[in-house]
C-alpha cells in the first residue's frame, strides 16, 4: 500500500489567484488535508461554480468541474446521488452561493445531500472587479455603489441553520490549524456540510477581516466547553432572558454562568443565536468553529435505497413487459 502525499493533490496548472489572496491558504490546507484523510484523488470530485474561488478545481489533481454560476450544489447533488463512492466537494463564494445560487444552496442543505461545501466569503465580488456582494456591509462603497450599498447582508450561517443544515461551521483563511480541523470534521459528516471560510481579497476588499483577527473578536466554539474568548479568556457568552445570547465579562458573571457550546443539539436555536453574534457591518466579532453537527439521514442514501436495478439479463425482459402493458390487441 502506497502512502498518498500532498503532491498528488497538486495539479500541473499554474495557480492564478492574485498575490496575497486568501485562497492560496485554503488550497494549501486542502492539499495537505486530503492525504491525511486517506481519500484517493480519483475518488475526489470538486465541483465549483463561477468566481475567484471557483478556480479551485483546476489546482487540485482530482476530478473536478468548473461549472456555471451558482449551480454547483445542483450538479453536485446529481453526482452525489449517483455515486456513493465519491467524496464530493463544492467550492463556492459569497456571490456564487448566496446570490445567484442561493436557491440551490438552501435546498442542498435542507435535503442533506452528501456534499461538503466550502463557501469562500470575502464580502466582495472579486472576479467581476469589485462590486458589493450579499455579505458586504450596508454602506459599502464599490464601483456599483458609489453612494454606498443599501442592501442588508446575509449572515451565511444563520441562513444555513434556517435551511435545516446538519453541519454548519466557520473558519478563517489565516488559521491553518483551525481550517484543517474544521474541514476534517466537515468531510467526516455524512450529509451536507457548510463551511464558511473568511477569506481576504487583497485587491478589492483588503483588510475586511483585519479588525476581527487583530482584536479579541474571534469567538472559538468547542463542543462541550464554555464559550470564552479574548485575552486570558476574560470574555464569555451567556444566554439572555429572551433566548438570544450576548457577550459578557466572565469575571462579572462567573464561569459557571457561561454558555456551554453544544454542537450536537438537535434543536438549532442555540446555534442560530450564536450565529447572530457575528457583526453584520464592519467585522469586529464573529464566532468560529463548528456551530452545528447533527446526524440526519443523507438524502442520497435514502434516494438510493428506493432504487433497485434488475440483473442485466432480466432488465430488458422486465422492460418489455412494461412496454407491452396489459391491454394489447393483435392485427393479423
Amino acid at each position: 500500500m502506497t502512502t498518498v502525499n500532498r503532491k498528488e493533490f497538486v495539479s500541473d496548472q499554474e495557480v492564478r489567484w492574485c498575490p496575497g489572496c486568501g485562497d492560496y491558504a485554503v488550497l494549501a490546507a486542502f492539499q495537505s488535508l486530503m492525504p491525511q484523510l486517506g481519500i484517493k484523488r480519483e475518488n475526489t470530485v470538486i465541483v465549483s461554480g463561477i468566481g475567484c474561488s471557483s478556480r479551485f478545481p483546476y489546482y487540485v489533481d482530482s476530478y473536478g468541474l468548473h461549472s456555471i454560476h451558482g449551480r454547483a450544489p445542483a450538479i453536485a447533488t446529481g453526482l452525489a446521488t449517483t455515486r456513493p463512492d465519491l467524496a464530493v466537494w463544492v467550492v463556492t463564494g459569497d456571490g456564487d452561493a448566496l446570490s445567484i445560487g442561493g436557491n440551490h444552496l438552501i435546498h442542498a442543505l435542507r435535503r442533506n445531500v452528501n456534499i461538503t461545501i466550502m463557501l469562500f466569503n470575502n464580502r466582495i465580488y472579486g472576479l467581476t472587479k469589485g462590486q458589493y456582494s450579499p455579505t458586504s456591509e450596508v454602506g459599502k462603497v464599490t464601483k456599483s455603489t458609489p453612494a454606498g450599498s443599501v442592501d442588508t447582508p446575509f449572515n451565511p450561517l444563520s441562513l444555513a441553520l434556517g435551511a435545516e443544515a446538519t453541519f454548519v461551521a466557520r473558519t478563517v483563511d489565516s488559521n491553518r490549524a483551525h481550517l484543517t480541523e474544521v474541514l476534517t470534521a466537515a468531510i467526516a459528516h455524512r450529509g451536507a456540510s457548510l463551511v464558511e471560510i473568511y477569506q481576504n481579497c487583497p485587491i478589492f476588499n483588503d483588510g475586511a477581516f483585519d479588525d476581527l483577527k487583530a482584536g479579541p473578536g474571534l469567538i472559538p466554539l468547542r463542543h462541550g466547553e464554555p464559550i470564552t474568548f479574548g485575552p486570558d479568556q476574560s470574555q464569555g457568552v451567556v444566554r439572555s432572558a429572551d433566548g438570544s445570547v450576548r457577550v459578557v465579562d466572565v469575571a462579572q458573571v462567573g464561569l459557571e454562568a457561561i454558555l456551554v457550546h453544544d454542537a450536537h443539539a438537535s434543536d438549532p436555536s442555540q446555534a442560530f443565536a450564536i450565529s447572530r453574534l457575528t457583526d453584520s457591518g464592519v467585522l469586529r466579532q464573529a464566532p468560529i468553529g463548528i456551530f452545528r453537527n447533527v446526524e440526519r439521514p443523507a438524502f442520497d442514501d435514502a434516494m438510493r435505497a428506493q432504487v433497485s436495478m434488475p440483473a442485466p439479463e432480466e432488465r430488458l425482459a422486465a422492460l418489455q413487459a412494461l412496454v407491452s402493458g396489459q391491454d394489447t390487441w393483435t392485427v393479423a
Partner: protein, 539 residues
C-alpha cells in the same frame, strides 16, 4: 327503420363541464374504435383550472377523435359531431362546426341559469339559431337517472353516469363494440359495485336508446383501416417517451437518472419514471428547472444517463447548463414537451413553436442534435434514438434534445409496439413514413428490445457507506480509475449499439458543419478514467 351508411371518416368531439367525464368518455370511445381497427388521432383539450367554476366556458373540457378506414395524421379541424353536455360546451365549440354537423345536446343542463351563465339570452336549442345543424336535443341526464334508478344512488350520483349514456348512444350510432367499455367499467369500479352497475346500465341504456328511438335515421359504419400486422397497445406520448428513455438506458447498460421540476405537460414523464425505480431509474424532483438539468448533468458526470424533462419555459432556463453539457462532452437528453405561447404560455394547450429555441437557444457555439417525434408512438423510438446519439456522438458525447412535438403533449395516440422504425427507410423524404411498413426487419421496437447482449455486466450499487471515505485502500493513485462497481465504462460498448439507422435529417440539418467542442483543461473530465482519460492527459 334505421339505415346503415358506410362512411370513410368522421370527427367527433365530446364536450362538457370539467367534471362531466369527457376525457374518460373520449378515451373509451377511442379504445373501442381501436378494437375495430380504424386508424385514428385524438386531441384532448381541458382547462388549466384544476376545478373551474361549473357551467362556465372556462370550465369546458373536450376530447376530439378523428377515425377513418384509411391512414390519417391529425385529429381533424372541424368536428362532424359535437356532443354538448351543457350550454357552455355548445357555445365554446359551436364556431368549429361545419354546416350540417350533428349536435347531440343534453337538454337537462340548458336551464335559464346555465344559459345566462354563458351569455345566451334564449335557449339556442329552441330559438332556431342552430338551423344550419342537425340538432338532437335529448334529456340525457333524465334518461340516465331513469336507467340507474334501480341501484339506489342519489340523484347527483346517478346523473354522473350521463357521460356513459352519451357514450352508449354514440357507440350505437357509429357501430362500435360494447364489450370493451363494459369490461373496462367492471375493472375500474370493481370495488364499488353500485357505481359499476350504474355506469354499465347507463351505457347500455344509451345504446338501447339509439336502437329504439326514431330520432336517428342513419347509423354509420366505418371499416377497419389497413394496418401492419402486429401487437398494438394504447399509449400517450409522455408514457412512450418514458419507456423509450428506459429502453435506451437499458440497452446501454446504464442507470437512468431523471432530474425534473414539475411542469405541465411534461410532469407525466416525471410521474412515469418515478414508478420505475425497480428498473434502475432514479428520479430527482429538483428545486427548480436549472437544478433539475444540473443534477442530470452531475449524474451523467458520474456515469449514469442524465435526462431532464420539461416544457418550453423550462428549456429556456436550462440553456446555460445544456451548453455546459456540450462543452464538457457529457451525455444528456433534454425532453421539451411543448406547450403553447411565450413566457409562461398555456400549459394545457399544445403548439409546435419551440424549434428555434432548441436549435439556436444557446449562447456561443453549442450545437445540439434536435429530434422531433411525429406521433405519440414515435416518442418511444425518438427517445431511444436520443439516448443513442447522446452516448455515441463522435468526439462530443454531448446533449441531445428530442423535441416532443404536438402529439407528445396531453394528446393521446397509439403505439405500435411492433412497428418498424420509420427512419429505417433510407433517404426517405423529410416526413418519416411511420404508417408505411418498412422493409427493414431490424428497427422495430420489439426487435430492438430483443437485441443481443447488453454491455458488460454492471452491478447497480445501492451501497450506503458509513462515511464518504472509500472502502478500498489507495493502491495505485497514479491510475485514474474510480473504484466503482459500475463505472467500467460510461459508454456502452460498440456491440451494444442499436441498429437504428442514423437520423439523416438531424445530421444534415442540425449538425451540418458544426464545430466540434474541444476540451483544453483538466477540468471537465469524466470520473470514469479508463474509458475517457481526463482532457489534460489526452491533450
Amino acid at each position: 327503420m334505421t339505415n346503415v351508411r358506410n362512411i370513410d371518416r368522421v370527427v367527433i368531439r365530446f364536450a362538457g363541464d370539467s367534471g362531466d367525464g369527457m376525457q374518460l368518455t373520449g378515451d373509451r370511445f377511442t379504445a373501442d374504435t381501436a378494437a375495430i381497427g380504424n386508424d385514428f388521432s385524438t386531441l384532448p383539450n381541458f382547462p388549466a383550472e384544476i376545478r373551474a367554476p361549473a357551467g362556465t366556458i372556462a370550465g369546458v373540457s373536450s376530447f376530439q377523435l378523428h377515425f377513418a378506414d384509411f391512414d390519417i395524421r391529425t385529429p381533424g379541424d372541424r368536428p362532424d359531431v359535437l356532443v354538448a353536455m351543457n350550454p357552455a360546451a355548445l357555445k365554446a365549440n359551436l364556431r368549429d362546426l361545419p354546416r350540417g354537423a350533428v349536435i347531440v345536446a343534453d337538454t337537462h343542463d340548458f336551464t335559464t341559469r346555465n344559459l345566462a351563465k354563458v351569455g345566451y339570452a334564449a335557449n339556442p336549442l329552441e330559438d332556431g339559431s342552430l338551423g344550419a345543424f342537425q340538432v338532437h336535443a335529448l334529456d340525457l341526464t333524465g334518461m340516465t337517472v331513469g336507467a340507474v334508478a334501480a341501484f339506489g344512488l342519489g340523484r347527483k350520483e346517478a346523473s354522473r353516469s350521463k357521460n356513459m349514456f352519451a357514450l352508449g348512444l354514440l357507440t350505437w350510432l357509429y357501430s362500435r363494440p360494447t364489450e370493451g367499455t363494459e369490461e373496462f367499467l367492471s375493472r375500474k369500479f370493481a370495488s364499488k359495485p353500485q357505481i359499476r352497475d350504474a355506469n354499465i346500465a347507463a351505457f347500455r341504456a344509451g345504446y338501447a336508446f339509439g336502437e329504439t328511438t326514431e330520432a336517428f335515421t342513419v347509423r354509420y359504419e366505418i371499416a377497419a383501416a389497413p394496418m401492419p400486422a402486429g401487437t398494438y397497445r394504447q399509449i400517450s406520448g409522455n408514457t412512450a417517451l418514458s419507456y423509450g428513455l428506459m429502453a435506451g438506458a437499458a440497452k446501454a447498460g446504464m442507470p437512468l437518472y431523471l432530474g425534473a421540476y414539475p411542469i405541465t405537460p411534461a410532469s407525466d414523464v416525471l410521474h412515469e419514471l418515478s414508478k420505475a425505480k425497480h428498473h434502475g431509474v432514479t428520479t430527482f424532483q429538483a428545486e427548480d428547472e436549472i437544478a433539475a438539468v444540473g443534477a442530470a448533468l452531475g449524474a451523467s458526470y458520474g456515469g449514469a444517463l442524465g435526462v431532464t424533462s420539461t416544457s418550453g419555459p423550462g428549456v429556456a432556463l436550462k440553456m446555460e447548463t445544456i451548453s455546459l453539457a456540450v462543452m464538457l462532452e457529457l451525455p444528456l437528453v433534454i425532453c421539451d414537451v411543448q406547450r403553447a405561447g411565450p413566457a409562461t404560455g398555456m400549459p394545457t394547450k399544445t403548439e409546435q413553436a419551440d424549434l428555434f429555441q432548441v436549435l439556436y437557444g444557446r449562447h456561443g457555439e453549442a450545437p445540439v442534435p434536435v429530434l422531433a417525434a411525429q406521433s405519440p408512438g414515435d416518442c418511444f423510438d425518438i427517445a431511444v434514438e436520443a439516448v443513442r446519439i447522446a452516448l455515441h456522438l463522435p468526439h462530443s458525447g454531448d446533449s441531445c434534445c428530442p423535441t416532443a412535438t404536438w402529439p407528445t403533449g396531453p394528446s393521446r395516440g397509439w403505439c405500435r409496439t411492433c412497428r418498424r422504425c420509420p427512419r429505417s427507410t433510407p433517404a426517405s423524404p423529410p416526413k418519416p413514413t411511420a404508417r408505411t411498413a418498412s422493409s427493414s426487419p431490424t428497427c422495430g421496437t420489439r426487435s430492438w428490445l430483443g437485441l443481443g447482449p447488453s454491455p458488460a455486466p454492471q452491478a447497480w450499487s445501492t451501497g450506503s457507506a458509513a462515511s464518504r471515505r472509500p472502502t478500498r485502500p489507495a493502491t495505485s493513485p497514479t491510475i485514474r480509475t474510480i473504484t466503482s462497481s459500475w463505472s467500467s465504462s460510461a459508454k456502452p460498448r460498440s456491440t451494444a449499439s442499436p441498429p437504428i439507422c442514423p437520423p439523416w435529417w438531424w445530421t444534415t440539418q442540425a449538425l451540418s458543419g458544426a464545430s466540434r467542442p474541444t476540451c483544453s483543461s483538466s477540468v471537465g473530465a469524466r470520473p470514469t478514467g479508463r474509458s475517457r482519460p481526463p482532457c489534460a492527459e489526452s491533450g
